[in-house]
Amino acid sequence: MTNSELNRLKDKAFQGFGIFCTLIGLVVLAIFLLNILIDGLGRIDWNFLNNLPSRRAERAGIYTAWIGTLWVLVLSSLIAFPLGISAGIYLEEYGKKNRLASFLEVNISNLAGVPSIIYGLLGLEIFARMMALGGSLLAGSLTLALLVLPIIIVTTRESIKAVPRSIRDASYALGASKWQTTWYQVLPASFGGILTGVILALSRAVGEAAPLIVIGALAYVPFAPSSPMDEFTVLPIQIFNWISRPQAAFATNAAAAIIILLFITFMLNGIAVYLRNKWQKKVKW
């Protein structure tokens, strides 16, 4: 009887602990966001978005950083999306279940787990040095493109897999070729899922600083890049730079820039979730 009571006690205790742990995660998240909001929200204004970097915290802005971020997003999308989606299509629709296919699968799962800084080293040696792109936007975008490639491939495969066999059958039966079937039926039907993956990939890319630092992106770039060969900085690097300045006013700037960065990240994730839900609701096979 005492044993049984003890068991029930343990059960209750663990339930309490479970709630506690779940809340810890959320509470820390809340404290964290609140802290940053309190620190940085007051600093955000039109000038902050529009000013060039400065030695004076009050005068410094994130103009070059967010333009750089935008450039990097666009360029790496242009590189990674076609590649990643094509590779996903190949693996799901074309790749026979042979040695190569299973090797590719292991390989992609491995790439997904390679730390981002290693991609930085790859970019440094191949893009920055061998291809002599230096610390340019193009070198950075290529590096980030490779970094997010596995994410795009995996989500593309998942969403293609979700397209029912019957749609492919119907298309083949009407005389469509494999590519026609893929292009006219499979891709449109899996578009939502692919887009979700692509946006998640973007939200990953937008927060990366380490690989860009390795390839040599600079902190003090007092002009907005205007071509892929220009030097650049991005929001996370600007934040890193401000964080490492000891003066409190720069910490305020960092908090403000973090709010902008988080806003972008959350917005991208929000769009992804929204698209996923919308697509799931709309397409019921």
């Binding site: 529009n50 000013n51 060039l52 400065s54 030695r55 103009y63 600079l218 902190a219 003090y220 770039v221 007092p222 002009f223 030097e231 490492s244 300045r245 000891p246 003066q247």
Partner: protein, 317 residues
């Protein structure tokens, strides 16, 4: 978009690339930032690779101007000449290497050069790890060291002045080219002791405590001396005061935006170096350095005339 000075020269275009000393960085950054209002279409980038890193790039011709907190070394100079680069050294401000501890540190009120040597020399590595090993009155608690990275002029200067041999020190300390990291380290660590340029101390006085240094040499001031405007200027803050330099290459001055930048530098270095926490040179010294630069420019324009294509020379004249 950003706003500009009313006299801004929009016709001036092109890049200026600067790299090198983190100590000099704040002045050059300030100058570059002000220069932006004057020449909005010139793109100035400033890296922070340390004086050594800067010279490496400078002698390969990768950058126009090198910030330096020490003079160029023989090897570096040779490398530059091999690459056909002539250069000029220009002083821009004075600095006093400052020894700092955490403000909560109540025991370290001064320190001698001998103690610093004992603490920083290579033999100290993994041996001198507690405060009371440096001076027995100090508490028995760990000592965490923060100092300039090995590519930096500060490191060279410090090891030379304290240890007695350039580039020789213990290796178990937080070494960063970025002095901000050091400031942050010391300001957050009660057991810390660090050194870096005076400007970084000035900027972050609230989070740091400078300790006076005694070189036990009565000839240049008695007892422990704190770095300050006066003690650095009058040389009593020995052996840790020094001059800061810019190196400009002969190739760079072919670019009008660089020449204009240097002119602007000397016109404004006094107030700006004060603003960011350095000790300005006397006015006549700035004039002198500016003159030196002008002669350097003239020399290279003339040598281009005699040795080069006549057509372009005529236009230049």
């Amino acid at each position: 978009g950003p706003t500009y000075d009313e006299n801004a020269d929009f016709t001036l275009e092109g890049d200026i690339s600067i790299d090198g000393s983190s100590t000099v960085y704040p002045i050059t950054e300030a100058v570059a930032e002000e220069y932006r209002y004057v020449a909005p279409n010139v793109r100035t980038t400033i890296g922070v690779s340390g004086s050594g890193g800067g010279f490496k790039k400078f002698s390969r011709g990768e950058i126009d101007i090198s910030n330096a907190s020490r003079s160029i070394k023989e090897g570096e100079a040779e490398a530059a000449h091999e690459n056909g680069i002539d250069y000029i050294e220009l002083s821009v401000a004075y600095d006093g290497l400052t020894i700092v501890v955490n403000p909560k540190n109540t025991w370290a009120k001064d320190i001698t050069v001998a103690e610093l040597k004992m603490l920083w020399e290579p033999a100290a590595q993994n041996k001198i790890t507690r405060w009371n090993q440096v001076r027995p009155e100090w508490p028995n608690r760990p000592i965490n060291l923060y100092g300039a990275g090995v590519e930096s002029g500060t490191y060279d200067y410090f090891t030379e002045a304290i240890v007695g041999k350039s580039h020789a020190s213990r290796g178990d300390f937080t070494a960063s080219e970025d002095d901000n990291v050091l400031v942050q380290g010391v300001s957050g660590d009660i057991n810390a002791l660090g050194f870096f340029g005076y400007a970084y101390y000035e900027e972050n006085k609230a989070q740091l405590k400078a300790i006076p240094v005694d070189d036990e040499d009565e000839s240049n001031g008695k007892g422990p001396i704190l770095p300050s405007l006066e003690s650095i200027k009058d040389g009593s803050y020995a052996p840790l005061s020094r001059a800061l330099f810019l190196y400009v290459s002969s190739k760079a001055i072919k670019k009008p935006q660089v020449v204009r930048f240097m002119d602007f530098y000397f016109e404004n270095a006094g107030p700006l170096s004060r603003e960011v926490g350095f000790i300005p040179l006397p006015d006549e010294k700035y004039k002198h350095e500016h003159e030196k630069f002008k002669q350097f420019v003239a020399k290279h324009t003339i040598s281009a005339t005699t040795g080069g294509n006549t057509d372009t020379t005529k236009i230049a004249q």
